[in-house]
Amino acid sequence: MILQVQNVTKRFGGLQALTDVTFELPEGQILGLLGPNGAGKTTLFNVINGVYAPEGGRITFRGKEITGWPPYRVAHSGLARTHQVVRPLNELTVRENAMVGACFGRERHSLASAAVVADDVLARVGLTERARQITSSLNVAQKKRLELARALAARPYLLLLDEVLAGLNPTEIALMVETIRRIRDDGVTILMIEHVMQAVMNVSDRVLVLDYGILIAEGRPQEVANDPKVVEAYLGDPKLAQKLLAEEAG
């Protein structure tokens, strides 16, 4: 197992954001993390990569417990992430942005060797031709690719992707899904939060579903999509409608 999350609990004041979350991620898989808005998905990412320390539970990465480690230390150990709202360094070039990932990642490159890594990852996400451009000139889809490149430049063993498909058009989604598959085939394990359901159900080996901070389902996409608990989390409680219809009939 590349990642083990055991009984993780996170509170914000009176709000229980994560309750006793437990799952494992085998090396080489793509694991989709699903759930309605506010379910705790990004919070779980933040706990895994050290932005938040959990109140309870433990996180083990490549056999080493990393619970409570600061984010930079988690990054050095080979765990990288992308953010839902991308914040590239707009006044730098695309290549320089990717270099930042290389400098602060697992291999902690010097500037000279970071440039080599940057060129490699930009090629992998299809941004080679944009390398010398100022980042602010990129469109949304290109910025999302750069976000991915920056994370890849950290040479991670495990990559956390937070809604990399959001805001993309169908063609761009198909391209991004292909890129994600290729990254996995190159040996990077992936945990991805995604709302574009057709795509995530298609690309994931397994999926997890969080609802109100509780893991309510886990399994292959087809199984999970048919799980009554999951259907209820997305479509709502059917009992109320049954009651209303019964009142009408009576």
Binding site: H195, M201, A225, V231, L240, A241
Partner: protein
């Protein structure tokens, strides 16, 4: 008769496109629902219909007139009224004052006394609480007040964004019964609601939005039995 028609709307925020060509029609006197999972663009569509967001492409017509360029307050004066998500009440004002504020448009102002009686008949709890500050009401009462304030605007089309969000089952049921009552009176309504079963049970016609497009549409109750609705939410 089609009262409101949304034609091929493309819309979004900044560079991010949310709606990819959405068309729908509201028949006069019918309750139409728009369902779909979080982040799919339901609120964006309502905001576009109200004129709070300018579409990148497409047109909206009301009673056969193109209103795509009309300002939000002019749309409200024409009878398009939105009960927004999260209620957006004037919390420091009383229930009564909030209802008065609903009648601020030139369309509704002359009839506010008659309409407030009508709202009190429909939602008697508001009458009991008339002098209480809106911010001190329970969640369910606040939602009732938001609906009451919408009615004070004398809507020709009443739109609801997440009617039952955060409410208990009993309170939700009450609100849906109010909707059925309004439907019986002939009100034209557009309901956005996270509980799909409920939305399909109370509505005449339904549109399912997925990934910024209309995924399917049809008579609401038959739609409730179709597997494609689940697919729209869960992808497979």
């Amino acid at each position: 008769m089609v009262l409101l028609e949304v034609h091929d709307i493309v819309s979004g925020y900044g560079e991010v496109q949310i709606l990819w060509g959405v068309s729908l029609r509201l028949e006069q006197g019918k309750l139409t629902t728009l369902v779909g999972s979080n982040g799919v663009g339901k609120t964006t569509l309502l905001r576009t219909v109200m004129g709070l967001l300018r579409p990148w492409r497409g047109a909206i017509s009301f009673r056969g007139q193109d209103i795509t360029r009309l300002a939000p307050h002019d749309r409200a004066s024409a009878g398009l009224v939105l009960v927004p998500e999260g209620r957006q009440l004037f919390t420091e004002m009383s229930v009564y004052e909030n209802l008065e504020m609903g009648a601020i448009s030139r369309r509704a102002r002359p009839h506010w006394k008659r309409n407030i009686e009508r709202v009190f008949d429909l939602l008697p709890r508001l009458k009991e609480r008339r002098n209480q500050k809106a911010g001190t009401l329970s969640g369910g009462e606040q939602q009732m007040l938001a609906v009451g304030r919408g009615l004070m605007a004398e809507p020709e089309v009443l739109m609801f964004d997440e009617l039952s969000l955060g409410l208990s089952p009993v309170l939700s049921l009450n609100l849906f019964e109010t909707l059925q009552h309004l439907k019986a009176e002939g009100m034209t309504m557009l309901l956005v609601e996270q509980n799909v079963h409920m939305a399909l049970a109370v509505s005449d016609y339904a549109y399912v939005l997925a990934e910024g497009k209309i995924w399917m549409e049809g008579e609401a109750r038959p739609l409730a039995k179709r597997a494609e609705v689940r697919q729209a939410y869960l992808g497979i």
